[in-house]
């Protein structure tokens, strides 16, 4: 990743900020505060000592949800991918779960876990675990049989086969799943925080929405978006690198 590859996304960021400014001019302060004051407000907000507990709360919830989603997701995905029938049974259910508006299950989660951290973590994990399972399942199911035969021909033990053949073969696809899971877990955790607790960035956001504090709404949204975009860019680079050696399925541009 050269410095040059930052240039174009940077230009996109500039144009987004420019569009932001223009929209502000058109829609007024009530709808959209201008970039400069908003970012200044964000900076002030972060530097206040009472901001830190909220940040920590969200970070904690997100980390736990992410751990569950990733470890649980990969674990379940491997099992479902390895056992053909289980995978076949489970896949439509998982795809169905992926497509429904999980917000409709939110009240159920609140009822089951009560208000507070567990609900947030559960909601976040629920969002993230499904794509991880699906991607992992796919990766394991589609391992090239020839690799396994080569492993047997070389008389590898099961654990050697797992470590030296299965993991490198499935890693690129599993990582893509983790990347998608990351974004969705973040989204789920944030949504969970809107109603489930008195602490955290989601709570701050909801308060700002209720008070119609546009500046704060934008500031928090920008903060989270920045975090998401930066981390996603890093993961995307890793993703590309992992997929570098996998065969592209047929041709590209003319």
């Amino acid at each position: 990743m050269t410095l040059r590859s930052f240039r174009d996304p940077f230009l996109v960021v500039l144009s987004l900020v420019a569009m932001w400014q223009i929209l502000h001019e058109l829609a007024g302060n009530n709808a959209l505060t201008a970039p400069a004051p908003t970012l200044t407000h964000l900076w002030e907000m972060i530097s206040q000592p009472r901001f830190l507990p909220h940040l920590r709360e969200t970070a904690l919830a997100f980390a736990q949800a992410l751990l569950i989603a990733c470890l649980g997701g990969v674990g379940i995905g491997v099992l479902l991918g390895g056992h053909r029938l289980s995978g076949e049974v489970a896949e439509p259910i998982l795809v169905g779960l992926y497509s429904i508006p999980k917000i409709t299950l939110y009240p159920v989660i609140l009822l089951l876990f009560g208000l507070g951290m567990p609900a947030k973590v559960a909601f976040g994990a629920l969002h993230g675990i499904i794509p991880v399972i699906l991607f992992t399942m796919n990766a394991v199911r589609n391992v090239n049989r020839t690799y396994l035969r080569a492993g047997r021909a070389l008389r590898l033990s099961p654990s050697q086969t797992a470590w030296f053949v299965l993991i490198p073969a499935t890693l690129p696809e599993i990582f893509s799943g983790l990347r998608v899971g990351f974004s969705l877990t973040l989204l789920g955790t944030m949504m969970g925080e809107l109603f489930a607790s008195q602490r955290g960035l989601g709570f701050l956001l909801m308060t700002a929405i209720d008070l119609h504090d546009v500046e704060t709404i934008l500031a928090i949204a920008i903060l989270i978006s920045l975090f998401a975009v930066v981390l996603n860019a890093v993961m995307l680079a890793v993703d590309r690198r992992l997929h570098r050696h996998t065969a592209q399925d047929s041709g590209g541009k003319a």
């Binding site: 049974v89 917000i103 009240p107 975009v229």
Partner: protein
């Protein structure tokens, strides 16, 4: 029905049955979850009473418009991004991170811009669903086999004909998976928006029932939404299976 389908059915029946027993026996308090049979009864009651009519119309109209806009808009944007590789490369990290951005945070701002009512919700859901279609469009156009493009040149097709007769049909499976996602995300966007910040629509009704501790009504509504969305998605999948069967695997 295949073996897997039977097992799946058995699992679902078992899960629902197990929940029914757990609820009826008091193992799971009614303040948490009500029995599935009661949920179904609630749903039936709600539909029969007809007082959900306006909400249903509102939600599904919003969803429908969002679906149409996100598919057409997403395809168009994806098409142009494919045409201008430099712009596309610049946008790549943002497209990848798009679904981590808390869209609902921008909802109040949309209300101020577009006023109250369904419009800001439709805009929100469309923006939410569009990127899935953009990504799928890009993937499809990328994966047109080079040999088919060479064939186009051998037949001396014009750029328009090449796009219409070769690139698009070749990309169709990917485009269709984009359509599937756009449909799902349109539902999710509208209902989530209604839940968080609205005064009408099914999502709002669910939140309202929750706030009022009206579990039967809440679960009845949830069941209704899940049933409709699942049925809709199953239709889309069935249609896709038909298409795939003709062409062989993509």
């Amino acid at each position: 029905m295949s073996k897997a389908a039977w097992i799946r059915l058995a699992i679902l029946v078992g899960a629902v049955g197990g929940l029914e027993i757990a609820c009826r026996s008091g193992l799971v308090p009614a303040t948490m979850v009500i029995a599935p049979s009661q949920m179904a009864a609630a749903t039936a009651g709600l539909l029969a009473s007809g007082d959900l009519g306006a909400d249903i119309r509102q939600t599904f109209t919003s969803v429908g418009i969002a679906i149409v806009l996100s598919i057409t808009g997403g395809f168009t944007v994806g098409f142009w991004l494919h045409w201008f590789p430099r712009l596309r490369r610049a946008m790549d990290p943002f497209l990848a991170a798009y679904y981590a951005i808390p869209h609902f945070a921008f909802y109040p701002l949309l209300i101020v811009i577009f006023g109250l009512g369904a419009l800001p919700l439709i805009v929100l859901a469309t923006l939410f669903a569009m990127v899935a279609m953009i990504v799928a469009t890009l993937a499809g156009l990328d994966r047109v086999p080079r040999v088919l493009l060479k064939t186009a040149r051998m037949h001396r097709l014009s750029p328009f004909e090449e796009m219409w007769r070769i690139r698009l049909p070749a990309a169709a499976p990917y485009l269709f998976s984009g359509v599937k996602l756009a449909v799902s995300y349109s539902f999710i966007g509208v209902i989530a928006g209604e839940f968080i910040l609205s005064t009408a629509g099914i999502g709002h009704e669910i939140a309202y029932a929750y706030d009022n501790f009206d579990n039967p009504r809440m679960y009845g509504l949830i069941l209704f939404v899940l049933a409709v969305v699942t049925a809709f998605n199953m239709l889309v999948y069935a249609y896709e299976r038909q298409l795939v069967r003709r062409r062989g695997a993509a």
